[in-house]
Symmetry: C2
Subunit: 351 residues, 2 copies
DNA sequence: CTGAAAGCGCTTACAG
DNA sequence: CTGAAAGCGCTTACAG
């Protein structure tokens, strides 16, 4: 009776034949709309039983084609290699699933060609919505989605052509700068020793962080030194080199170091690993991203953490009331790394 | 002419109407098979142009339904929160794309119910193959795939019911144990001070690592102390507690610590952050996973790194010559963390 | 070289 | 309560 061994997947026709019901009845029973059609419970059970026996599994391709709803929710992001993007992916999956959608997230390595081709692929799979995370210029991707009639939302980095949800980098930057200044003062070091490294020019996140950094200085009536900010780029090597140059000039590390990204932070770690520990141990360090190991390095480090759950939740809200002309920008506050529950940071059964 | 502004996606019918060609011709031109059918190049160009103007994008749901090929490749994994899984996801995406498949990877949080429901969803989307990574008992999932006629491959943790590709944990364990013993001896500490912490009983990876640990002891003619191995679990807290207990008993940390997973390693870091640095700085530490920040912590740490690219490549090879009765086990060697190119560890434009 | 037609697996008005 | 039938968008033998 059951013939799960054959390669062919069973269809509603197989079940209809087996149970003597019509394909319509089978379809209704299988998709749960049968109660509405007053189908006998006994019939329904017979069909359900047969479906189980045949190892039946709906073909979403067919259902999706008929209903023009794929049940797919897409997200593109640069990669999974840091906690922020890993967390975004995770939260996206959880929330998509709880909305009955099948999450499909793809990493694009920040390659614009890959970005376009991935978005086209997702569109041809007929995703019902698309989140675009960490793409510096998402406008072409938003345009592709708009042409396909698919709502798109930008995450982390905003764009002109679609609603965007980003962290409140400016206030976060101001808060962490303040905290680091306090720490420096407590050590009797002038806060003007503080420098901000990393990020790139003309990028929203970097600009906001620099603005917040400035805000903190202004609030204290302090001048920002000429070379206090160095947008030396997003890769570890560049940050390492920029720091090494300062080390050369000063004969030591700057007393206060605010790193624009976890990758810039990695550059700092690379450099200090070649230095005598005493040189780095005294530095007051901060970073706009959080990492569970980085917080335990040999120096005093404060990490800002983005609220990925909130970012995703806001993004879904934006799709719920999605109307094309609306291009709003939602800001989600950041928190300090130690302000999260411990069990958000590590997981129970985890390797 | 172009009417990209309307919500409705354009279809081959729209293009046929616009160009005066038949839907068959349009279809052939659009899917690239037109040369074979001797369609005039001029016709083809006209159709291509019209497709562009209409913002046409194939509907893979329909094409997939017709061809019974979805173009989708699936992978499930526990999460993205460490470099191993993040790297697996990345490599999977790259290699799937280079094979013309659309990768779709989903995190299941190690929850067996989620695992089943995710696999069912992927199957109903008609993925053409499914990789199952880090699932302790993948057999029920393999069965689901088999029933649907979809090849499945287990990664990282093997299973009885499908081909499996895993790291060669035993040889890796032996190599890292050896290296740590050398380091201990160089400091005049007996290698028998070395302990292995983490992992769980009756799990393949843990068992193999313990076996390799034993191998290294035997090769030197050394006895393994009664309490040298503690499979205290995969979460950070348990490892921290197990270590704390030893700290109590010894009045210090064990001189050599081999941590079974990055999470157990996190437990070590949690503990040492509460200890005076001098206590931990002298420890010789090793770990079966690699993390870019963890390698720079205050103690001497050696990290083993799994070859994610090779694992994925082997898995794809297994699907290429997939025949149900074949349940082979492929072993992929591990390497030490510092044996990879620097640019594999950090990326150029990366935050 | 091109068109008419069937069919992939499903859903849902519409009749009975 | 159930069945026959059309149609979602595409592909591909099969005739012309």
């Amino acid at each position: 009776m059951a013939r799960m061994s054959t390669g062919r997947k069973s269809t509603i026709y197989d079940i209809a034949k087996e149970t003597g019901a019509s394909t319509a009845t089978v379809s209704m029973v299988l998709n749960g709309s049968w109660a509405r059609y007053r189908i006998k419970e006994e019939t329904a059970n017979r069909i359900l039983e047969s479906a189980r026996a045949l190892g039946y599994n709906v073909n979403m391709k067919a259902r999706g084609l008929r209903l023009s709803r794929s049940g797919l929710a897409g997200m593109v992001l640069p990669h999974y290699r840091n906690r922020f993007f890993a967390g975004l992916a995770q939260s996206f999956e959880d929330q998509a699933r709880s909305r009955g959608l099948c999450p499909i997230v793809v990493g694009t390595q920040r390659d614009p060609e890959v970005e376009v081709s991935v978005v086209e692929t997702l569109l041809s799979q007929r995703v019902e919505l698309l989140f675009i995370a960490g793409v510096r210029n998402p406008t072409p991707l938003n345009a592709l989605c708009a042409a396909a009639g698919v709502p798109s939302i930008n995450l982390d980095l905003p764009g002109e052509a679609a609603p965007s949800v980003v962290s409140d980098n400016r206030h976060g930057a101001r808060a962490i700068t303040n905290l680091m200044m306090d720490k420096l003062e407590a050590r009797g070091i002038p806060p003007s020793e503080l420098v901000l490294l990393g990020g790139v020019a003309n990028e929203y996140a970097t600009d906001m962080r620099v603005a917040g950094f400035r805000d903190a200085f202004e609030a204290r009536g302090l001048e920002l030194a000429e070379d206090a900010v160095d947008r030396c780029g997003y890769n570890a090597g560049a940050a390492r080199d920029a720091l090494a140059a300062r080390y050369q000039k000063l004969g030591r590390l700057p007393a206060g170091l605010l790193m624009n990204s976890i990758t810039a932070f990695e550059g700092l770690v690379q450099l200090t690993s070649t230095l005598p520990t005493s040189d780095s141990k005294s530095a007051v360090v901060g970073c706009f991203d959080w990492d569970p190991f980085a917080v335990h390095l040999a120096f005093d480090v404060t990490m800002l953490r983005q609220d990925v759950q909130k970012i995703i939740a806001e993004a879904f809200t934006s799709t719920d009331n999605y109307d094309a002309p609306d291009r709003h920008l939602v800001m989600v506050p950041t928190r300090f790394g130690d302000m999260f529950d411990e069990n958000e940071q590590t997981t129970e059964f985890d390797r």
